[in-house]
Amino acid sequence: MKALFYPGCSMQKNARPYLDSLLAIREDIDLELQEIEDWNCCGATEYMSVHRVAAHSLVGRNLALAQDQARDTDVLTAGCSACYLNLAKTDAQMREDARLKVTVNAALAAGGLEYKPGSMKVRHLLDLVCHDIGYEAVKARVVKPLHGLKVAAYYGCQVVRPDYDGHWDNHEHPTSMDKLLAALGAEPVDWALKTQCCGGHMTVIGPDVAFGLIRRLIHGAQEAGADLVVTLCPMCQLNLDAYQVEMNKHFHTDYRVPVLYFTQLMGMAFGKTAKDLGIGKEFVAAAPALAKIQAEAPKVAETKRKRRPKPGDALPMPGME
């Protein structure tokens, strides 16, 4: 599968392990990435707070460059949730709002560029892996299944919401990454905080709010029995990992829940080395959790035969199909 690739500012340095692990596994999953030449910052959640048309134009330049540079593919992918959302939002809103389209293109014209909304299909990296490359293809490349590793799949907000083109099964309880982790041999835990916010930029401008949110997530993952948290966004990883240390200081707690990218786990399952995958660069060391990986698949408990209900028994639960 071919795709234009927008790395985004975070992946260059603070989320370097995300990029490294992605590059390490792309051949295994037959994903050819063509990086946009001379891309610029997407503006994150900050640029749009100050300007609107300029914010869309900032993103527009990347869309236009991708459109012009695209060779036999119309898919544009990003790994960072905010970058993905900005690209998707600008494209979607230029499609829906004719005036915005005209205005943004007028701005782009000052730089000799033009973007036809809809010409690039903006997709998040996880979306490509789960829905285009597919779980079976991923499973086929697994040489070291992650048996015995309990993982909390953490999607964060901006990938599954607002989801302009309906790529995800659910805004609140998606299952794609869980299925991916299962395909890698790991055991995704059942936890309800999968898409609760990590606090975003509140770590800088409103730390009290952020720490509360971070603690809830880390504590929740731990309570659910997870050995580590798996994420798909550099901001989330930074908040849950680097700021976990700060959070511990704030609350005088001692949580040690490592946070890795899904591409790093994929790499591990594909047999790459920790160094290739940037494992070791996290603040809360992942090595102890990863040491729990077993050679054999854990035994599945025998399902007990259902006995006949008696008075005083629990009421049946609704089915979830």
């Binding site: 603070n14 370097r16 001379d38 707070s49 300029a54 900032l58 007028a106 401008i205």
Partner: protein, 173 residues
Amino acid sequence: MASTPGNNRLDHCIQCGSCGGSCPSGPEMDHTPRRLFALIRAGERDTVLRSNAPWYCVSCYYCTVRCPQEIHITDVMYTLKSMAIKAGLFHDAALPDFSETFVDYVEKYGRSFELGIATRFNLRHHPLSLAGMAPMGLGMLKRGRMDLTPHRIDGMAQLTAILEKAKALEGTS
């Protein structure tokens, strides 16, 4: 307000409170998103633009997907932020300053530069916290997760031209 893309439909708000109930920052906002919309409809421009609510928005989009009237709440928050900056009205200057600092770096280099943003912002607003942040900063450096110098894109002239034109067109669409 009407220029927020997606036809913000604030007139359709039934004041149900889904947004205020879903908001992760809700308890810290002086006015919940719902109350903010009531204030907007009541014409309380000053109060609305001085509110800390839009700045505390984390863009989680829970409000947007849960709103029974399909109002693009998060986008409205962005609009309110830029309006507040233009009007020079805010509750705490630190809040818009963070965004503006970010914008400055992007407009200079075409890329964001965390060390620069964090340092400048904290020097200006929370100088004492810089000391407390040192361990984390060092931790990032040690792990090769932070740049000491910013990167500049090649097409800076092109980007600048685009952004200048865009700003001139602001408010015309």
